[in-house]
Subunit: 308 residues, 2 copies
């Protein structure tokens, strides 16, 4: 799957991923009203609104981008009905040949971590049959529990040719509370980064590993160091746009080959119609606003990479 | 909810929690066959088998215990159908007046963490209505992202009078890889423990906080230290039984008042019928074996607390 991600990045010249993190207040009124008319102001109505909103955005951007990253929390908050919308979204993106990164940030130990790995990336055995539960291509994973939490994901990745992105240095303001604490003079995120590099050795594609890392766009200096610590890890970079990261801050997340990173924007793309910059599209043409925002993001990042 | 947990512990004399972490190979053949006959060897069939198995165990143990801890990964691996079984289990346990600790180990930032908090402990707004998604009483939370990840849970806990258990020192062999690393001469888990104590000050019940901690039974010495660092935090203690912890190892997780900890056993209870010790019950009476295992666990822990 890392090979597919790379080939799609090369084809689109867009090392970007669109975060499908719907909030009801991003969703234009016409979509909400239609869904509520059909299913009432219910969890099912909310799930339907999210799904229709996602679908229209995907239809308008899928040809420009290699990958999407649905954030499962935004679906899980609506219970089962929200997760049905998540699953529909994953399936539809795969139909459109997009690489799907499930931003699930799961992490547990032993058989429990294996269950998450199977549910999101693999297949579960039921009697004599096997079934995929959510079937994303990549999943994000939390490293706090150590190798016991990561290894079961790696086992499934090897079997299914899928991948993970391990949280290393997250984009939020308080990420330093634990991640920046010094251990033998070096921050915890560097130690985690070294583990990511070691875990990744076990399952390599041609040039990059199936085991990637999450490093926030909001920490470019740390990204520069982590790039060197994990030379063969793809870095998933959240925090572009709405959280403050800009194209020029991101060049050091990439290797010399122009690869090695994929930059996420969520709100900046899916709620573009709410920004002054894209207001001319209006609420009805929200998905065209998203397309324009994708084009601008590609130009920003591609431009920064060419000028480095 | 921490008050309810405490009053139920005092009433049952059982500072224990039964982990509802079903694996298909724990489930007696008669239940699997019935479910597969009705729904086929499908995800729905698996979900039905899990639900019937859980229900029979709950019916046999609910009067002895204060709380249950369903591990969501074991349900999530079966996709939507598994999560429907999770939700049914949560609802049924609440009907039986059990405190439900959702072992979800979620953790993200800002609005995303808020979405998890709302989905598992709170209510989500849909138009003019509000709905609970999964509606557990407590949830386990991963601290790697710092206060940004925890605060949204605390906000929901205050509103709903619910609680969280933050991972501090987990029970698995590799938990030390990051958690034991020394920062200014002290292990990371102590630093996290200090944060748990500080976060907990914000939302106190009478004597204990709504913000608890997870510390593995397999690390009794660390538990002793963490007990002192977080005097007002309830400690959820996994790793009893199958993972190696014993009653006498656990006394230091408790405060002098005999409270402050709740010990989990999963496999040791729900798959008791597979152990030699409880083999006399046979496969058909698996839930009676579970009841006997609960009684033995209460005696072990209560005995250890009395003899300290």
């Amino acid at each position: 799957m890392i090979q597919k991600l790379i080939s799609k990045i090369e084809k689109t010249h867009a090392p970007i991923v669109v975060g499908l993190d719907p909030m009801l207040n991003y969703i234009p009124k016409q979509i909400q009203e239609k869904a509520f008319k059909e299913y009432g102001e219910t969890l099912k109505g909310a799930g339907e609104a999210i799904w229709q909103y996602n679908k229209e955005i995907i239809d308008h951007v899928y040809d420009l981008i290699p990958a999407v990253k649905p954030q499962i929390a935004m679906y899980e908050q609506f219970g089962i009905e929200g997760l049905i919308a998540f699953k529909k979204t994953v399936d539809y993106c795969k139909e459109k040949d997009l690489v799907v990164i499930g931003d699930v940030k799961r992490g547990d130990i032993g058989s429990t971590s294996a269950a998450y790995a199977v549910g999101h990336l693999g297949k579960v055995q039921v009697g004599s049959q096997k079934f995929a539960g959510f079937d994303e291509d990549f999943a994000t994973v939390n490293p706090y529990l150590g190798t016991d939490g990561i290894k079961p994901f790696i086992d499934v990745c090897k079997e299914e040719k899928k991948g993970i992105f391990v949280l290393v240095k997250t984009s939020n303001p308080s990420s330093g509370e634990f991640q920046d604490r010094l251990i033998d003079g070096r921050p915890l995120y560097e130690i985690v980064g070294e583990h990511v590099a070691a875990w990744g050795e076990e399952c390599m594609g041609d040039k990059y590993s199936y085991v990637g890392a999450v490093v926030g766009a909001t920490y470019p200096e740390q990204g520069k160091i982590l790039r060197k610590i994990m030379p063969k890890a793809f870095i998933l970079v959240p925090g572009y746009g709405a959280q403050g990261g800009k194209g020029k801050d991101l060049v050091h997340f990439f290797n010399e080959d122009g690869l090695g990173a994929i930059v996420n924007s969520s709100r900046g793309i899916i709620a573009a119609w709410k920004q002054e910059k894209y207001a001319k599209y209006g609420e009805a043409a929200f998905a065209e606003a998203s397309r324009a925002a994708v084009e601008d993001m590609i130009a920003d990042i591609d431009g920064a990479l060419k000028n480095r």
